[in-house]
Structure formats: C-alpha cells, structure tokens
C-alpha cells in the first residue's frame, strides 16, 4: 500500500524527546522501534481547524476495540479518519493510559536536569506534548487522550489494567496512512506504566512514503460499517478541495 519502496524521508528521534510535523493526506508515516522497547506518545489535530482532534472514545467504540492494530482507523471527534493503520507487526497498541508527567518521572526514575545531564535529562510526556502544541498555538485545553505506540496494556475480567513489558522488539513497524492533513505531535518518553528500573530511553525511527491510492476494497475502509461511514465523511470533507 506504498507507492514506492524508498522512503521520501528518514529520521531518528532519540529516546526521551519530542517532535511534531504536518502529515499530508495520501502519505504514509512509518514508525519503527529502532532498538526495541520504545514508546511513542502521539496526538493529532486538523491543521485547518485544530478544534478537530484525535478522539480515543470514538476510535474505540466505533470499532468495538480496546486495542489498536492493523485494519483500524484513527478517528477525529468530527467523525472523520485522520489515519488508517495499514501495517502493524505487534497486534496491540495502547490509547487508554495517557502519558507520564513530571511527578511520575521523578518518583519512578529520579530527577535529572539539563544542567547536570544535558540532553540526557529526564523529559516527560505531558510537558513534551505542551512544548510541541505551543508551536501551533495550542495548549493545555487541547491535551486529550493520546496514543501509545509499541505499548500494550491489557485488562482482566474485573477491569484491572496490566502493562505488558517486552512487548515490542527491534525493527517492529507500524504504518499509518493519512487520509487527512494532520498535525502529528509525538514524544518518545516512557509509557506511564513502565516499571523499568532505569529511565527507559529508546529512539524512534520514522520514514515518510507516498501512499498508493485508496481503493473501495481497501482493508481499513471496509473493516467495519463504522469505518466505511467515517471514510464517507472524510471524502465529503475533501470534495471541495480537489
């Protein structure tokens, strides 16, 4: 579902860092766990109207799922598809655990400032998101439930949550095909339920590709009646732009 095998762009984000960019419709964002054990926090907004943003409840309830994997679509709060998961090597990604904050990082892994550790200082997901959101005029009011790529949190019959360690491995890949222009905000800070003894710092490799055209038989488009209707809403949104 890529138009070419060679990436348009290839970049490595160190562990414990943050970055953001605008993905254009018709392109694929490939996320690669370079060393194994990474966690990628992600938020998404419509650059044309950032009040439209990734919606965890709508994404989960429309697809009757608690986990995210290939075949699923990532929905905005306006009933449209930001991105389709067209490849996933792991079978389970988390979107219900939120992100780590300064208190959590300090309590679990200690404080490490820039003054003492330079760029190996301990960043947290909450501040990282705010740092990137500010570049688009966004702030605390725009924080919402985020995606945690490469991380797995399951539940038992009573609803007790359990973080699954060693879920991801070196080379594990997720491909996201963007169906709308999307502000992508991400960080590589630890998952908030990670209990590793040392501050987990694992890089993310990401690559950009041109996507092959989306057909009516596209697996994500026909994965559920709900997804098909979300694609119809997205097509309506694009109708006047082409």
């Amino acid at each position: 579902m890529l138009q070419s095998a060679a990436p348009l762009y290839d970049d490595l984000i160190p562990g414990g860092s943050h970055w953001s960019f605008v993905m254009r419709r018709g392109h694929v964002l490939r996320l690669i766990d370079e060393t194994g054990g990474t966690n990628v926090g992600m938020l998404m907004y419509n650059p044309e109207n950032p009040l439209e943003r990734y919606n965890m409840p709508d994404t989960l309830k429309n697809q009757h799922t608690f986990l995210l994997t290939s075949g699923h679509v990532l929905l905005s709060d306006m009933g449209r598809v930001f991105a389709s998961i067209i490849r996933d090597d792991l079978g389970w990604h988390d979107t219900v655990s939120g992100t780590c904050n300064a208190d959590l990082v300090e309590q679990r892994w200690g404080q490490k400032t820039y003054q003492e550790a330079h760029n190996h200082y301990h960043r947290n997901g909450f501040s990282s998101f705010l740092n990137e959101l500010a570049k688009y005029g966004l702030g605390k009011k725009d924080l919402t439930a985020n995606l945690n790529w490469f991380s797995k949190v399951k539940t038992d019959d009573d609803g007790n949550m359990a973080y699954v360690s060693d879920h991801s491995h070196a080379g594990a890949t997720v491909d996201l095909r963007f169906e709308m222009d999307t502000i992508v905000v991400l960080h590589t800070c630890p998952h908030p339920l990670n209990t590793a003894s040392d501050y987990p710092s694992h890089p993310l490799r990401y690559q950009l590709f041109k996507a092959a055209p989306v057909t009516d038989a596209d697996p994500c488009k026909i994965s559920s009646p709900e997804a098909t209707r979300a694609f119809a809403n997205t097509a309506l949104y694009h109708m006047m732009q082409s």
Binding site: L51, N55, M56, P57, D58, L60, K61, N62, H64, T65, F66, L67, L75, D77, M78, G79, R80, W92, V96, S97, G98, T99, N101, D103, L104, G139, K140, K141, D142, L143, T144, A145, N146, K154, T155, D156, D157, D158, G159, N160, M161, P192, L193, E226, A227, R229, A230, A232, N233
Partner: protein, 212 residues
C-alpha cells in the same frame, strides 16, 4: 462495588430534576457531596468536571483509570484531573460500575456509529456546547469538551482487547454519589441518545442532589 449512602434526600441542600436531552451546570464546593440519581433506570448521565477556579484543569479519563489501575469506576474511585490531582471521590454507588472509555455521543459520531442520516439528531456534545455558549462567564468553548464519565453505562472490556456496549446494570432509583475534594464545576448532559438499545431507546430524566 455496591455501597449505600447514609445521606437522606430530605436533608439535601439542593435538588433538581434534569430531563433527557438537557444540560446541568453547578459548582459543588470542596467537602460537599453530589448524588446523581437514575429516576427511571438505564439512563446515561454524561458528566464532565472542571476546577471551578481554573477550568483549564479538568477531569481526565486516562489519568483516572491509570492511577487506580482499573478501567471501571465505582465506590472508592478517585477522579483525577488533567494535572493528576484528585477532584472527587465516589463515596457511594448502588449501580456497581460506570464507564469512562466510551465518551459522549455527538452529531458526527452518530453518523459513524449508526447512519450518515443521523447527523441532525440531538446528542450530548450539543447539550454541552449549548451549556458553554449560554454561560459565557465560564469562558469555555468546544476546546473544553473532553472525555467524560458515563454514569450508569456498562461498557465491558475483555482480556483479548474487545469492547462492547452491554445492557445497562442500572435501574430505577440507583445512584452514584461523589464527594468533592476541590471546588468543581459539574457539567452533565443527560443523554438524549435514541439509537442505543442500552436505554431501550427511551431516554429518561435524572435527579441531582447536593448535601453541604
């Protein structure tokens, strides 16, 4: 966990019935207790909480479930804010389980969940948007409408990652009670949802009571 309240309705300092499809907005002070009562059964009360002095701090579904290590809400649950502070604690619950993963209905999500033609049906986000536009003094907009609690809704998660909307476990007279740990603005949409079998396609009123 089922836990009865010792508070008596006749001693409440405030009582108001909220019809289906209406919003409810009130500040509950730290130390006060608020009860949401399902008058006729299987209704959903879609509820948001804000720090009454700074609504930029608001209820966070993901911080709440992560910090308690469980995806369901019931007696003993501490509801956390986007700044990870405890806003309220559920002190009584005769229902046993409440949902905070399913979110609220909106005109747009009704198109994907039910049918494209359902877009003009009244939905919970409409109720909240009316609430914030009718109360300009709050300085709130759609940016402030985030993930909520669905009191009285049952949305089971399975160990293999499934999520379903099950029949309600509420009934006429069941209630949930919360003690405020900070001054909170309570914003409820009493759900007008006509497409969901959980409420037998018949949205009904709730009552809100406050004890000072």
């Amino acid at each position: 966990m089922i836990k009865q309240s010792i508070l008596k309705p006749e001693n409440a300092s405030f009582r108001e019935t909220v019809p289906a499809g209406e919003y409810f907005l009130k500040i509950v002070k730290a130390g006060e207790t608020v009860r949401i009562l399902d008058l006729e059964g299987n209704q959903a009360a879609d509820t948001l909480f804000y720090n009454a002095h700074n609504p930029t701090e608001r209820y966070s579904a993901v911080d709440t479930i992560r910090e308690q290590g469980n995806v369901y809400l019931t007696a003993g649950s501490k509801l956390r804010s986007s700044e990870n502070n405890v806003m309220l604690e559920i002190t009584a619950d005769t229902c046993g389980r409440h949902d905070t993963l399913g979110g609220a209905c909106a005109a747009e999500s009704n198109t994907t969940r039910y049918a494209l033609e359902k877009k003009c049906m009244h939905a919970c986000r409409d109720s909240w948007l009316v609430a914030v536009t009718e109360h300009e003094e709050l300085g709130m907009t759609k940016r402030d409408i985030t993930h909520n609690i669905n009191f009285f809704m049952n949305v089971p998660v399975t160990s293999d990652g499934g999520l379903t909307f099950a029949d309600g476990i509420s009934d006429a007279g069941k209630y949930v009670e919360l003690k405020a740990e900070m001054d909170v603005l309570v914003m409820i949409s009493n759900c007008p949802q006509l497409n969901n079998p959980c409420n037998a396609y018949n949205p009904t009123p709730i009552e809100v009571l406050v004890w000072s």
